[in-house]
Structures are given as structure tokens and as C-alpha cells.
């Protein structure tokens, strides 16, 4: 390469555009320094630094939008990453998610004798990596960001070192994650090899770069190595998303992981997977739509059915959330297929992700607040008469579950509606039919949960003795708990009734 090319690349190294990621990493380091300096594992201090640090970042990012929300597409660092309104929105999404995870983490750590700093530090690090992941425009960055996320999660899943469940989940996640990373990497290598091979016409100089790769694949869509490489890459991403048939790890891991980590996996990690999949199938793999559309459609149907059907007989609430999360991934996959033909479907996906974030964290929040002692074995029976014992928790739970089930006037309803309309416009009628069946099934188990919590169910006298002992009453809710739960519920409602929010998203 000559000097001019280097200069051009150097000119595109706009570090200022990566300030949020840099800030998060700095905050993570700051926490680690704090631990060394204070050595007290003072939870409150750590928590405050982590939480307010993130709130400050949110505010700063908000302030930066006064000059206008980023529009248009900008390639940085010599094409290593690309920034669009979509990636900017996802940054906010991940930051919001990590804020909630930090909050839930405090509740979780308070009752346990575990290392504390690392939880927040790793959460921040993973969040920064997630942000980079959705912005990546090149396979090396994609893989590095993805591995940072995954490695972070290995630690987080096994965080409750004293719990057998957590350790088992951590091990399973490690093995499955490593396997899928291996597949992904193998796929990347195959693509790199074939696209850079000088034997083939149209070989490109930088085969890891998405646009270049797209050119090459468009020229050789039937090349066996291209097929093998891309399907291995897609398999690796499908693992992140939790799509059938790469969903098998989810129930075990979600159940075993600490509740905040389950929420983190269910929301942020899954969202990143969906966005990356979207980037890939509309970017480098666009020329393969001949088989990616039927593939992802079939996977979406299977995922929706699998998630909903397996959630039906479940009694363990964390497994219900895990399995129903698979179903939500299925609806999102339908959105990805729709986005391949309908432009505004991207906005619908992001809107759905936001409603899913709010509702899931509402539910996970209630779960975390109720499970100070035991974590992995919360059963539906523990929620009996919650409305009487903890009206606020029951209300937040109901709003969250109803939104997940897609009941108007909550955000989840509008989210599903626009996703379904997008699928309809894309002509995916079969997929739509299965989704509707899935939604009907989901109402059954979501409202079974609500029924336990809210309605007085008749119970036989002999059953009363053998009933699962109720969980210990949570400590009285703090102002922050109330704010978080009420805030999530209110936001869920706002997304459901304020059309301008949706309109804004659909412009993405």
C-alpha cells in the first residue's frame, strides 16, 4: 500500500466517534482501580459509580443529539466499522440494558458473598463489545467483539460460584460457546480463503471487509466454499440468537445463571445476534437470499413453535423466560426475513427489541427482587397471591408479561403488530400464520403466570399442605426499586400508546 492509502485510512480513524465505548471501558477500569484502592468491596459505592457513570453517559449521548441524531452511513477506521442511525439506536439500547443489568446485579449481589467489582466491570466491558459488534463492518472486528462478549458471559454465567446450577450453566455455556465460536471462525476462514483466492475471477483484496465480500459473493453465489463458509457463519450467529436448532443450551443456562445475567443474555446478547444477522444477510450474504430466505423462514417457524411449545408445560419461571425468549427470537427472525424485502421492517425489529427489553427487564426485575435467597429454582407456585403480598411487584409483573404476550395497549402489542404487518407486506403468509399460533400459545403460559400472581385460584385443602413453601418475603422495596419497576411499566405503556415513538423508529 502506498502512503496515500494509509493517510486515507488514518483520516478515517475518528476516535471521537467511539467515545461511548471508550468511556465504558474507562469506567470499567476505574471500578477495578477503586477496588484496589478501597479494598472493601463496598457494594454501594461500586454500584453508585457504575450506575451513575452509565447514567452520565446516557445523558452525554443525549446531549450530543441536540445537534441532530446521526443520519446517513459513515465508514470509520478504513472500513473496520460503520455507523448508521440503526447502530446509534442499538448503542442506546445496550447502554440502557447494561444500566438495568447493573441495577439488578446490586439486588443480586447484596444477598450473596461473592466478588462484586468484577460483576459491574465485566458488564460494562461486555456492553462496550456489544456496541462494537453491531457496528462492525469487517469479520475480524466482528469476531473479536463477539469473543469479548462471549468470554465476558462465560464469567458472568458462572458468577454465583457457590451455586451448583450456576457453575453447571457456566460450563455448558463455555462448551457450547466455544463450539459455536469455532464454527463461526471456521466459516470466516473459509470465506476469507475463497474470496481472496487469486484463482477465482473477481477475487477481492480485502475479503474480510463486508462490502468487498458482498461483491465477491454476488459474483460466485454457488461456490461450495462460499456456501460452506456462510452457513457456518450463520450457525455461529444462530447460537447467539438462540434459534432452533442451536437453542438447546438456553433453558439450562438461563436457569442456572444469576437472574441479572439471564436477563442480560436474553435481551442484549440476543438483540446483538439479531442485528448482526440482519447486517450479514442484507450485506455480504445478500446475494445468497435464494437460500437464506427459506432457511431463516424455516428456522423462524421452528424457533417460534419450539419456544412456545416447550414453555407450555414449564413450571420453573426462569426456564419459562428462557424458552419464551426463544419464541421472541423467532418473531424477530421473521422480522429479519421481512427486512430483506421491506425497508421499514428494520425499524420494526428495533422497536420490537425495545419493547422486549422493557418488558423482559420488568419481569426479570420482579424475579430478582423475589429471589434474594434462592435463585435458580423459582417455580410458578412461588407467585401465588403475589398481588396481595406485593401489589407493586404483581402489577409490574402483569404489565411485563402482558406486553410480552402482546396485549394492547402495551408496547409489546404494537411491536408484534408492526412486525406482523411488515411480514404481511413481505408476503410471508405461512410464517405469519405460525407466528399467530405462537402468540396464542404464549398467552396461555404468560397468563398462567399472571393468574398465579394476581387471581385467587381455588386450591384443594390437602394440596395446601404440600404446596411449595413460599419464597421468603423480599426486603422492603427501596425507592430505586419502585422507580425502576414503575418506570419500566410506564415506558411499556408509552410505547404502546404514543405513535410518534413508533414513527420515529420506523424511520431508521
Amino acid at each position: 500500500m502506498n502512503l496515500e492509502a494509509f493517510q486515507k485510512i488514518a483520516a478515517s480513524n475518528l476516535w471521537g466517534n467511539l467515545l461511548p465505548e471508550i468511556y465504558l471501558v474507562a469506567l470499567c477500569l476505574l471500578l477495578l482501580v477503586f477496588e484496589m484502592v478501597f479494598r472493601r468491596q463496598d457494594l454501594l459505592l461500586l454500584f453508585r459509580v457504575a450506575l451513575w457513570g452509565q447514567v452520565l453517559l446516557l445523558v452525554l449521548m443525549g446531549l450530543s443529539y441536540f445537534g441532530g441524531f446521526p443520519s446517513g452511513r459513515e465508514e470509520l477506521f478504513g472500513g473496520l466499522l460503520v455507523q448508521t442511525p440503526l447502530t446509534e439506536t442499538m448503542r442506546l439500547f445496550f447502554l440502557f440494558g447494561s444500566l438495568l443489568v447493573s441495577y439488578l446485579g446490586t439486588r443480586f449481589l447484596r444477598a450473596r458473598n461473592l466478588a462484586r467489582t468484577e460483576f459491574f466491570a465485566i458488564t460494562l466491558l461486555v456492553t462496550a463489545a456489544l456496541m462494537l459488534l453491531v457496528q462492525s463492518n469487517q469479520f475480524v472486528l466482528l469476531f473479536v467483539a463477539l469473543e469479548t462478549v462471549t468470554v465476558g458471559f462465560y464469567v458472568l454465567v458462572a458468577y454465583a460460584r457457590t451455586s451448583g446450577y450456576s457453575l453447571e450453566a457456566g460450563l455448558k455455556y463455555l462448551i457450547m460457546g466455544a463450539l459455536s465460536s469455532g464454527l463461526l471462525l471456521f466459516g470466516i476462514v473459509l470465506l476469507y480463503g475463497v474470496a481472496g483466492s487469486p484463482d477465482l475471477a473477481g477475487a477481492v483484496g480485502d475479503p474480510l471487509h463486508f462490502p468487498s465480500l458482498a461483491q465477491f459473493i454476488a459474483a460466485h453465489p454457488d461456490n461450495t466454499l462460499v456456501l460452506a463458509g456462510s452457513l457456518l457463519v450463520l450457525s455461529g450467529i444462530a447460537f447467539k440468537v438462540g434459534a432452533v436448532p442451536f437453542q438447546i443450551w438456553i433453558p439450562d443456562v438461563y436457569q442456572g445463571a444469576p437472574t441479572p445475567v439471564s436477563a442480560f443474555l436474553a435481551v442484549s446478547s440476543k438483540a446483538a445476534g439479531i442485528i448482526v444477522l440482519l447486517t450479514l444477510v442484507t450485506g455480504p450474504f445478500a446475494a445468497l437470499s435464494g437460500w437464506t430466505i427459506p432457511l431463516i423462514s424455516t428456522v423462524a417457524v421452528l424457533t417460534i413453535l419450539y419456544g412456545n411449545l416447550t414453555a407450555l408445560p414449564q413450571r420453573n419461571v426462569k426456564r419459562i423466560m428462557g424458552l419464551s425468549g426463544i419464541a421472541h427470537a423467532g418473531y424477530l427472525l421473521m422480522g429479519v426475513v421481512a427486512a430483506m424485502t421491506v425497508d421499514w421492517a428494520v425499524g420494526a425489529i428495533v422497536f420490537y427489541l425495545f419493547t422486549y427489553l422493557l418488558a423482559s427487564f420488568g419481569v426479570f426485575g420482579v424475579m430478582a427482587l423475589l429471589s434474594e435467597g434462592q435463585d435458580a429454582d423459582q417455580e410458578l407456585d412461588h407467585y401465588e397471591d403475589l398481588a396481595k403480598r406485593q401489589p407493586l411487584l404483581a402489577a409490574a409483573l402483569t404489565v411485563g408479561l402482558a406486553s410480552l404476550a402482546g396485549i394492547p395497549p402495551l408496547g409489546g402489542f404494537i411491536g408484534k403488530l408492526v412486525l406482523f404487518i411488515a411480514a404481511f407486506q413481505a408476503g410471508l403468509y405461512t410464517l405469519l400464520a405460525f407466528s399467530v399460533v405462537g402468540v396464542v400459545l404464549s398467552i396461555y403460559y404468560y397468563f398462567g403466570w399472571v393468574r398465579e400472581a394476581v387471581f385467587r385460584v381455588w386450591r384443594s385443602a390437602e394440596g395446601a399442605g404440600s404446596a411449595t413453601p413460599a419464597l421468603p418475603e423480599p426486603r422492603s422495596l427501596t425507592g430505586l426499586d419502585r422507580t425502576a419497576l414503575v418506570g419500566l411499566s410506564v415506558l411499556t405503556l408509552i410505547l404502546g400508546v404514543a405513535p410518534f415513538v413508533l414513527t420515529w423508529f420506523l424511520q431508521l
Binding site: S180, L231, A238, V244, T292, L295, W344, I421, A422, L506
Partner: protein, 644 residues
């Protein structure tokens, strides 16, 4: 029209906010609730007039806010503001406010004021939505919302059997009408490609699309249910079980008139056949309901039949082809019928919830303000010259004759005869009511101790009864229009207001109809009307006497009275239908439901789903080994797609 849509949106949101505030904070503090609601009603009145004055006085204004935009599919929240909307808005805002005021006095001893006033606010919200809506979808949503608030307010005394039964009846009967309405909307949207009212009318007017009788008839179903026209009139009399302000506001002045209003809005897409249908059903109603009103001892039920008859007059005006006249009669009717109901409310309140007319008597001396308001409204509803009702009601009757005389068709003669008979019966039942309730001596202890109501209740009676029931129609009287009281009044009102009155009532409605009558040259028509009215009053004065304790008709001719009281055996017919026909059918469906749907489909599907779930769950063995094989199977599965 940025300003207009903002104003209309604010107008719409005020009552909703009021309802929300009451429900959230003041459910148990009735005083606060009533003030929130009344202040909201006051703001609505002010904003309504601001909107009317801001409007130029002619033409129509439209504004729409996109609610949801998905590609090329749009759902819009739109407003259409024209002459009929202005009149309706004035009625809802003005009369609504005074009825709110009246409610403060009437509900003072009620334990559930919070619920009542929240219900009133919800009603105002829904009604304003109907008034402003510019498309059928939005209209239907608010249409159902008024139905809901009506249901809720009829059942205010929910612990009384008759009230909860009446609310259910009102709800169910309205559903029957709304079913047709909904199909009509879908058909109209399919046929016209739009549900926007002005766009549909424009398509018909430009000749691009023909009118379709079926659409008109189906949309008319909504009107028949909401305005309680034949054959769905049965719910309105029972709805009197609600508190009297509710009867005045919802079941006399505004909601039942919404059906008429809706027909006027879509007048452009109604076919001649539909108009004839409306004409006949309305004209028959004027006489039929008038007869029925004579068979009621309950003052409110008698008034309810009178409402039916006058909705019939409005329908007749639409059927004659004078939608503006129908709207004018709606406005006049809102004034005097609200007065009549509020007077009955004042009387009922003073007599400690006694509703039987024959237990009252002699109340004019004890309650002079109420009595005089009732008298003026009675004269007005009977169309005595120079009262408000005269201008609209008499013109409807006269223009029916005028249309027959100029050879427009024989059906107009039928309408004329029926409406004249209706006018005669109006005088009969109104005379009966006034003489029985207000003259003579008290017939019960409660009536003997009655006192004039508080200022909250008398003020609305004075405004609506003494002033509006008398003078609301003077705007159209030749010589008075535009130069009211030698111009003195006009200078007090903004120019736009006068224009609005003349536009809304005068040019579009009254003048055209009046011209038809003038052209026929039959001056005797008016004299005949007056003769009917005077004969009616005179007859009842001598037949029933002053303040009787029993109905002479009931005593002397029980069979006739019985026949009148059963109001055409409609209820019996429907009861028979529900018990014998529908119940059988429901039994069959119930059998199918239990055995086919619940037994095979639901249980079966649930069983299959549950079984599949359990099977799939068994795959979740927890062994990492098998999980890894899953991944390999997955890759093979992906390969199948890539390879084909």
C-alpha cells in the same frame, strides 16, 4: 390548519384527562370529582365556542394527524369541522356544561359521585370524538365508547335489578345495530377505497362512484340502534333507570341524536331508497311513540317516548332531504328536551325520588321556577308559534306537505299525515304531563313537602328553559336573522357567531325547507298545526283534570290503556324471540361448542401442544454431549438449505 387540529385535540383530551384524574385520585371524594368534571365541562364549552368562532362560518375544515404510518398504509386521526359539526359541538358543549352544573345539585346525596362524574367526563370525551371524527373507523371507535359510557351511567344504581337489567338491554340492543354498522363500514371502505367521510361524499358528488343502497342501509343500522328507531327502540325507555342528568344529557340531548348527526354527515352517500326508509320509519315513530307516551305513569318514561317521537321528526327531515333542518331540530330538541328532563329531575329530587306523575300534583306553586321552565319547554316541544320548537318542527311538517304539493311523491303525504298526528299526540302527552304534575293539589306526602331546588339546579333550568327553549329559533325568523333586536344583540356577538347560526340553521336547513312550503302556498298547514296543538292541550285539560290522582284513561278504559302501555308488544315479541328461537339456537350452538370445539378442538389442540411440549422437553436432557450433537445436526440442517 395547524391551529384547528391542535384546538380540536385539546378539546378532545380535556374530558379524558378529567376522567383520568377523577378515577386515579378522587374516586372517594365526590366533591373534588364533581368540580374537576364541571370545570372540564366549562373548559369544553369555552373551547367549543372558540373553535366555532375561529371557523369562518362556511365551508368545511379538515385536519388530520397521522396516527400510524407504515409504508403506504396510514391510520389517521382526523377532524372534519363544518356546519353540522359546529351546531352539534355547540349543543354538546353548552348543554353539556349546564347539565354538569345541574348534576352538582341532583347528585348531592349520592354516595358514588366519583364514579358518576368520571362517567360523565368519559361520555363527553366520546361524544366530542363522534362530533369531530372525519372517518368511519374513528367514528366507530367513539361510537362504541359512547355506548360504553351510556351503559356505565345507566347502571349507576347497579345494586338495583332494574338498572342493571336496563343497562344490559341498552348495550345488547345497540350491539345489534352496531353489527350492521360495522359491516357497513367494511363494505364502504372496500367500495370507496377510503373511509373518510368527505372523500366518500366527494366521490359520489363527482359521479365517480354511485351510491349503494346496501351500504346506506347497513350504516343506517348504527343510527337505528343509537337513536332508538324502529325496530330497536325498546332500550331507550328502560334506560331511564339511570340518574336524570344522564337521561337529559345522553338519552335526550346528545347521544341519541348522534345517530341523526351521523346520518347527516353521510347524507351524500345515501341512496333515495335509504332516504325513503328513514322517512317512513321516522314518520311512523312520531305517531307511534306519541301514543305510547300516553300510557306511562312514570314521568321519565313518558318523556323518553317523547324523545323517540322527536328523533322520528329528525329522521323525517333527513328523509325529506333536508339534513340541515334535521340538525336544527336536533339543536332545538336538545334545548327543550334537556329542560324537560332537568325539570323532571328537579321534581323527582324534590319529591325524594318519586317518579309516578299521579303521586305529584300542584307543584307549580311549590316549585315556580321549575314549573315555568317546564311550561315553556312544553309549549316549545308542541311547536306553539315563536317558541324554539316551532321553527324546526313546524317546518318539518310543512315541508312534508310542500314536497307532496309540488308533486315529489305520494310518500310525502303519508309522512305529512303521520307527523301531524305526531304533533297532536305531542300536545296530548305534554298537556297531560303538565296538568297532572304541576296543577291541582299534591297527591302524596312527598309532593306536599316539595321545595324548589337549589341554585345549581334552577340556574340550568332558567338558561335552558326560560331562555333557550323560548328563543333558540329566533335566528331564522325573517326580520330577526342577523339583525336580532334591531341589531343590538348582533353587536354583542362576534360576527362569526351570527354567521354560524345563520349558516348552520338558516341557509342550509331551514330556508330551503321553508321555501318548499312557501311555494305550495298552503297557509292552512300552519293553522292546522296550531289547531292540533290547542286541541290537544284543551282536551287533556278537561279529560285528565288538574292534578288527578289516577289516570282517567286507565280507570275508564283499562283495555285501551293496557294496549298503549305495552307499546306495541315489541318487548314481548323480543322476549318470545329470545326465549323460544334464539335460546334453541344457542342450545344447539352450545352443544356444538361443548362437544366439537371444547371437546375435540381445544382439548385436542391443548393435548397435542402439551404432549409436544413434554416430548420436546425430554430432549432437554442436560447432557453436554447430546447438546453438541444437536449443533452438528443443526449444521447438516442448514446445509440442506444451502445445497438445494
Amino acid at each position: 390548519m395547524e391551529g384547528l387540529s391542535t384546538l380540536a385535540t385539546v378539546l378532545l383530551l380535556v374530558p379524558l384527562a378529567s376522567a383520568a384524574v377523577i378515577t386515579l385520585f378522587f374516586r372517594r371524594s365526590g366533591k373534588a370529582a364533581e368540580w374537576v368534571s364541571v370545570v372540564a365541562a366549562g373548559i369544553i364549552m369555552v373551547l367549543a365556542f372558540v373553535l366555532i368562532f375561529a371557523w369562518s362560518g362556511s365551508g368545511s375544515l379538515t385536519a388530520s394527524i397521522p396516527w400510524l404510518v407504515l409504508g403506504d398504509f396510514r391510520i389517521e386521526m382526523g377532524f372534519l369541522f363544518n356546519a353540522e359539526a359546529a351546531t352539534m359541538l355547540a349543543v354538546v358543549g353548552f348543554i353539556g356544561f349546564f347539565i354538569h352544573l345541574f348534576s352538582i345539585g341532583y347528585m348531592d346525596d349520592d354516595p358514588a359521585q366519583g364514579r358518576f362524574f368520571a362517567g360523565l367526563s368519559i361520555f363527553m370525551f366520546s361524544m366530542l370524538g363522534i362530533v369531530l371524527a372525519d372517518n368511519l373507523f374513528m367514528l366507530f371507535i367513539f361510537w362504541e365508547l359512547v355506548g360504553f359510557s351510556s351503559y356505565m351511567l345507566i347502571a349507576h344504581y347497579w345494586d338495583k335489578d332494574f338498572a342493571s337489567a336496563a343497562s344490559k338491554k341498552a348495550f345488547v340492543v345497540n350491539r345489534v345495530g352496531d353489527f350492521g354498522f360495522l359491516i357497513g363500514i367494511v363494505w364502504a371502505y372496500h367500495y370507496f377505497g377510503t373511509a373518510n367521510i368527505s372523500e366518500m361524499s366527494a366521490l359520489v358528488a363527482s359521479g365517480e362512484k354511485d351510491v349503494v343502497t346496501g351500504i346506506g342501509l347497513l350504516l343506517m343500522c348504527g343510527f337505528v340502534g343509537k337513536s332508538a328507531q324502529l325496530p330497536l327502540q325498546v332500550w331507550l325507555t328502560d334506560a331511564m333507570a339511570g340518574p336524570t342528568p344522564v337521561s337529559a344529557l345522553i338519552h335526550a340531548a346528545t347521544m341519541v341524536a348522534a345517530g341523526i348527526y351521523f346520518m347527516v354527515r353521510i347524507f351524500g352517500i345515501l341512496s333515495p331508497f335509504t332516504l325513503d326508509w328513514i322517512l317512513w320509519s321516522g314518520a311512523i315513530m312520531t305517531t307511534f311513540a306519541g301514543i305510547c307516551a300516553l300510557g306511562q305513569d312514570d314521568i321519565k318514561k313518558s318523556l323518553a317516548y317523547s324523545t323517540l317521537a322527536h328523533l322520528g321528526y329528525m329522521a323525517t327531515a333527513i328523509g325529506l332531504g333536508f339534513p340541515g333542518l334535521a340538525i336544527m331540530h336536533m339543536a332545538m330538541h336538545a334545548c327543550f328536551k334537556a329542560t324537560l328532563f332537568l325539570c323532571s329531575g328537579s321534581v323527582i329530587h324534590a319529591c325524594h325520588h318519586e317518579q309516578n306523575m299521579f303521586k305529584m300534583g300542584g307543584l307549580l306553586r311549590r316549585m315556580p321556577i321549575t314549573g315555568i321552565a317546564f311550561l315553556i319547554a312544553s309549549l316549545s316541544i308542541s311547536a306553539v308559534p315563536f317558541t324554539a320548537g316551532y321553527y324546526s318542527k313546524d317546518t318539518i311538517i310543512a315541508s312534508a306537505w310542500g314536497l307532496f304539493a309540488n308533486g315529489s311523491g305520494g310518500e310525502y303525504l303519508g309522512a305529512y299525515i303521520l307527523t301531524v298526528l305526531g304533533a297532536l299526540f305531542t300536545a296530548l302527552y305534554m298537556g297531560r304531563m303538565f296538568f297532572v304534575v304541576f296543577l291541582g293539589k299534591p297527591n302524596s306526602e312527598k309532593a306536599a313537602k316539595a321545595r324548589e331546588s337549589s341554585v345549581w339546579m334552577t340556574l340550568p333550568l332558567i338558561v335552558l328553559g326560560w331562555v333557550l327553549s323560548l328563543g333558540a329559533g329566533w335566528f331564522v325568523q325573517p326580520g330577526l336573522d342577523g339583525s336580532w333586536l334591531g341589531g343590538a344583540m348582533t353587536s354583542l356577538l362576534p360576527t362569526h357567531a351570527v354567521e354560524f347560526m345563520v349558516q348552520g340553521f338558516g341557509n342550509d336547513g331551514w330556508k330551503a325547507a321553508h321555501a318548499v312550503y312557501e311555494a305550495s302556498g298552503a297557509g292552512w298547514v300552519e293553522w292546522l298545526n296550531l289547531a292540533c296543538v290547542l286541541a290537544g292541550f284543551a282536551f287533556t285539560f278537561f279529560y285528565y283534570g288538574r292534578g288527578p290522582s289516577a289516570d282517567r284513561l286507565e280507570v275508564n278504559h283499562p283495555a285501551v290503556f293496557q294496549a298503549v302501555e305495552r307499546h306495541g308488544w315489541f318487548d314481548d315479541l323480543y322476549d318470545w324471540y329470545v326465549a323460544k328461537v334464539q335460546q334453541r339456537f344457542a342450545d344447539i350452538l352450545g352443544f356444538l361448542d361443548i362437544f366439537l370445539i371444547a371437546g375435540l378442538l381445544v382439548r385436542g389442540a391443548a393435548g397435542v401442544a402439551g404432549l409436544t411440549g413434554t416430548l420436546l422437553r425430554s430432549l432437554q436432557v442436560g447432557s453436554v454431549h447430546s447438546y453438541v450433537y444437536w449443533f452438528l445436526i443443526g449444521i447438516v440442517f442448514f446445509w440442506i438449505f444451502a445445497a438445494t
